[in-house]
Symmetry: C2
Subunit: 197 residues, 2 copies
């Protein structure tokens, strides 16, 4: 499974594609898109959209994962971020790829194991999980890889729990967890132990 | 000159194209884009983007005019609006058309003559200025036409004042007004009298 993570930003948009076989993750491509500072705002949006669409088509992931934003410094910065996020979601839709959204806390919990982790902890865990020599920089790139890893884990845990519960209890009507929010502490601890082991 | 106005909204995006010969304005096309309610958010963005790009290319305006937003009920609604606004600006950029942005007060002042006019006043003035039998509805369509008319007036007044000042004072280094904000009450009154006469 390939997952393409995006961290849209007003000045710079991080991206990264992660491939996984279920137990190991591998970095395929990552980077940051920085439109020319002299371009008009609509032309900057076009630059980001064109690059993302090209990258998503090249990577052909099964999912595009994006951080869900609920907070911003103010309405103006929320609006500006919304523009870039809009053209990112558009690129995914045009490439015919499903979009999954995760809250910042879900992403940090998936990658670091703690929903209020610092940026530098996320960078270091992304480095370890992908077996990289150096932590990906700038932080937009690490954040894009983090949301991709979060999606991998969410999907992974959902199918794993489904299998395990099916084996223990026979046919069951209980729905498999599709989000970290639905998991208990034991499930989380089990996953975290396995992922980092 | 043809101006294509857009009023982006989370649920519905109004649009309208106005043609002017400098003294009379004519409505070419207007309407509202409502993506299917059942579509995912990225697919709704794709729907709005595709429709706008098609319409802008068909109308071939010299400018796309969009309301500049500074206020929203909260960060979440600002973010959502930003997404739609982002794909609207992208469509203009992809069509190779310049984008002009005006504040809500500038638009109301241009159309009604009063920066804090009510929605229904804007609808009625748009109807009168374009010589329509009925006020355009829903209000998103009237708002899109209002921002297009605002751009026509701004451009119009800028070149008119330049001409008049040039004739009265000979060559001058004073810059022509490019926005209503730069105009005095006399200029505003003169324009309003002429436009509505």
């Amino acid at each position: 499974m390939k997952v393409f993570g995006i961290d849209p930003g007003s000045a710079r948009t991080g991206y990264g594609c992660v491939e996984t076989d279920g137990s190991r993750h591998r970095l395929l491509v990552c980077g940051a898109i920085s439109p020319p500072a002299s371009a008009t705002f609509p032309d900057k949006l076009q630059f980001v959209h064109r690059e993302l669409l090209k990258l998503i088509r090249e990577c052909a992931p099964s999912c595009v994962a994006v951080e869900n934003v609920f907070h911003a410094a103010n309405v103006r910065s929320a609006l500006k971020l919304g523009h870039t996020r809009g053209v990112a979601l558009l690129a995914a839709s045009e490439a015919g790829v499903e979009v999954a959204e995760y809250s910042p806390a879900e992403i940090k919990r998936a990658v670091v194991g703690y929903g209020r982790a610092e940026k530098v902890q996320v960078q270091q865990m992304v480095r370890m999980l992908l077996g990289l020599r150096r932590a990906p920089t700038p932080h937009d790139v690490a954040d894009a890889l983090a949301v991709a890893i979060c999606h991998v884990h969410s999907n992974d845990i959902a199918s794993r729990l489904k299998r395990e519960r099916g084996a223990q209890n026979g046919p069951t009507t209980r729905r498999a967890a599709t989000s970290w929010r639905q998991l208990g502490p034991a499930d989380l601890a089990a996953l975290m132990g396995r992922t980092r082991g």
